[in-house]
Symmetry: C2
Subunit: 314 residues, 2 copies
């Protein structure tokens, strides 16, 4: 809880289906290194009333003195950052057309900006993380689902209603498996943690020797661990996911011509089996070598969304 | 050839494999309606020395009095708009790392800006054509190849080296036909004029009754004409191309969340067979109805590139 009287602060929060995080940062902030939080908390998200839980977390890090310039919030679900409304959030069913910005401004008395969590993680990584100093950064997070965001000419791509950057929902294989969104063969259906685990489960009966038979629960992390222990099926599954990511990234490079591609999320920790296959497929699918980006692991970990919410303020 | 002494002008040019166009426009220009050219010419492109032919065309429309503020040029091929260099142009083999901007500035004595022709057609349609007044516009031209461009937050998407917007080279069907670029199943390999004609040729032996047996040369335009005359194969071919465009547009809507999608090029004149299939596939593939854009035919015809080159200046 910072206390300097003349200081100014910016508060940031990141609310997900499991955790609500909030932090107090100095404001303004110069330079490319991320600002250091003066206070931070992590609280379980209240599924009944996520907005009140978010207000409480922000109040916990509120400075005792000085002035709060504003609040930035990373939130899940398709949301309209211009109107400040979360349309809905699969992990937070209590939110339906939630006027999050207006409710937070009423509760806190300072201006609030909100953004999609994956988009803001992209902005955070572009500004302060693996893409810092670059104008054209593409971010992909391979987690339970696949999310993403794009920074072009230094600016977060938002689109007409702020729904842009759904990079997990591009069709990579029209004959591929169904996607949670109702589509088919989307990148998310081929390279998310969920997809990886499903592919493993389907492969178990025909692979009697794999270590994965003994793993409970079967997760993306467990598959990566088995790969490190030499398991052939685990390595093959990670390579397959990596190839699909490479194919999708080639499309995205032709579309965006980014300088840096940042990969985050649990599946991105799939080791060389994933990364080598990804780079090989990407190189094979690019039209011209000029398109080849630097592909880097995310650098900010769980702070990407918070720092992106901070970066919403300039 | 305009003559008012105190007037200012902006010259624009559009050079392709066949034609070199140039026009003189008033400058500056307010309002959303396109500026009216005070002079314009169209000359065959000189394949031996396209740059000199371009200089000559610009000199033909040069005003006798008044001041030329600058020149904007739409040129083919992957090009670097920041350095002003055409890397190469498949239709103009004489150009290899052509320093077009520097050569034009040396010849004409005024500042020059250059841009990729499909990107500038996108900018032209967004500023003055079917997307005018909108901030988020996606443009796709279905011609001999498939090109495109994207305007986000009112600004042309260019990418690190200016190579962004290659919307024809996204993979729509990994098992699809080879693409001219060396890839496979790209949108260009499925929905360009070239792809349409190839699909028609492959279908001829199994369709003894189609009107297309009697058509020479077999072109996208001829296929559209046969469709209007009731030919079932022609209608089916156009619908197939339209479906692939719809599938690709759904991806692009998830990525960009555009307000308007503008379709140009010969294949886009494929009538309701193409457009209905396109809209149906697009609707079926969108994750949520909020993503649905307005899909409109291009409005500027052959002037899109010239007006985009004009719009490069603000």
């Amino acid at each position: 809880m910072p206390t300097a009287t003349n200081s100014r602060y910016l508060l940031a929060a990141d609310i997900g289906g499991t955790w609500t995080r909030a932090a107090c940062y100095p404001w303004p902030w110069k330079g490319e290194a991320p600002p250091r939080p003066l206070a931070r908390v992590r609280r379980p998200t209240d599924p009944e009333d996520p907005t009140s839980g978010l207000v409480a977390a922000l109040r916990e890090v509120w400075p005792r003195e000085g002035r709060v310039h504003g609040v930035g919030v990373a939130a899940p679900g398709p949301l309209d950052p211009y109107r400040g409304v979360v349309l809905f959030a699969p992990n937070l069913p209590a939110w339906r057309e939630e006027p999050l910005q207006a409710r937070l401004e009423a509760a806190l008395g300072v201006p609030v900006r909100i953004g999609n969590d994956a988009n803001l993680a992209a902005l955070g990584e572009a500004r302060y993380g693996a893409g810092r100093g670059r104008e054209h950064v593409l971010y992909l997070t391979l987690g339970t689902g696949v999310g993403g965001g794009v920074v072009c000419h230094g600016r977060l791509l938002e689109g007409r209603q702020g729904l842009a950057g759904e990079l997990g929902h591009i069709t990579v294989d029209p004959q591929g498996p169904p996607c949670a969104c109702g589509g088919r063969g989307h990148l998310e259906a081929l390279a998310s943690g969920t997809a990886l685990v499903r592919a493993a489960q389907e492969a178990l009966p025909t692979h009697p020797d794999t270590l994965l038979h003994r793993v409970r629960p079967l997760t993306a992390e467990a598959i990566a661990r088995a790969a490190r222990q030499g398991d052939a099926l685990a390595r093959d599954l990670l390579a397959r996911a990596g190839r699909w990511v490479g194919v999708a990234l080639a499309d995205l490079c032709h579309i965006f011509n980014p300088e840096v591609v940042v990969l985050g999320g649990g599946v991105s920790r799939g080791g060389p089996w994933l990364w080598d296959a990804l780079r090989e497929a990407l190189d094979a699918c690019l039209m011209r070598p000029e398109y080849r980006p630097q592909v880097r692991p995310a650098a900010l970990g769980d702070d990407a969304g918070l720092l992106g919410a901070y970066a919403l303020w300039g």
